[in-house]
């Protein structure tokens, strides 16, 4: 289980391949990648603030919780902070399990918790200025599934 919080870009292909490589026990690997998306054509950048120290421990707790709930062989979380341009990768999670259902559900669980329980705050920078992204009710509601 690995949790990484960093400002620098990460190499999704290299991370995904290394995670999936040579797993003779796990038959299923799921990855999720979040990318800075230009919602209305006016986004210049995304700025991500975080809470150093708490971020790492919150992500570690979330990954550990996933391992208690599903039969997971391994999990990986990488999340960036700082300024990101449109098209850049914000974060990724990866899960490895014997069965695809565990790998899928654990990855969705990690995403749902990470959205609303890890101390990151996004700010969208447009030509009109910069605005904090509001938490969406549906992200909070997503937690009730688990």
């Amino acid at each position: 289980m690995r949790v990484v919080v960093q400002e620098a870009p990460f190499d999704f292909g290299v991370e995904a391949a290394a995670f999936a490589e040579g797993r003779a026990v796990s038959g299923a690997v799921v990855t999720f990648t979040g990318i800075v998306r230009d919602v209305d054509g006016g986004l210049q950048a995304m700025e991500i603030e975080h809470y150093p120290g708490m971020t790492e421990s919150a992500l570690t707790d979330i990954a550990a919780e996933a391992k208690t709930r599903w039969s997971l062989e391994d999990a990986l979380v990488i999340h960036r902070h700082g300024r990101l341009e449109v098209g850049e990768m914000i974060m990724m999670v990866a899960t490895a399990a014997r069965h695809r259902k565990d790998a899928f559900e654990a990855a969705e669980f990690l995403m749902d918790y990470l959205k609303s329980r890890a101390p990151f705050w996004k700010r969208e920078v447009t030509a009109d200025g910069a605005d904090w992204v509001a938490a969406r009710d549906e992200d909070e509601d997503a937690l009730t599934r688990w």
């Binding site: 603030e49 809470y51 708490m54 959205k115 329980r117 890890a118 101390p119 700010r123 904090w132 992204v133």
Partner: protein, 81 residues
């Protein structure tokens, strides 16, 4: 006790962190003390339903005890992922 502010709470109060001398028993007691300091604190803490709090880097509630706490952080709902 170190008190930290993030995102628009940080912007509204104007500083990312400060050392606070307090005997507050709970997070809510600390919020009341901060509200009384200055208008920018009163504004930031006007609606605590829009805020989240962590004590010693663990998410908790506003009625949580501050006994033994070294670090309290206030911030809006998180938007990671």
């Amino acid at each position: 006790m170190d008190v930290l502010y993030f995102a628009w709470v940080r912007e509204r109060i104007g500083i990312p962190r400060e050392a606070v001398e307090t005997q507050a028993g709970t997070v809510m007691d600390l919020v009341e003390e901060l509200r009384g300091k200055e208008e920018r604190y009163a504004a930031a803490f006007a609606d605590i339903s829009a805020l989240r709090v962590a004590v010693d880097q663990q998410l908790t509630d506003f009625d949580a005890s501050l006994s033994g706490a070294r670090e309290v952080a206030f911030f809006p709902p998180m938007t990671g992922g």
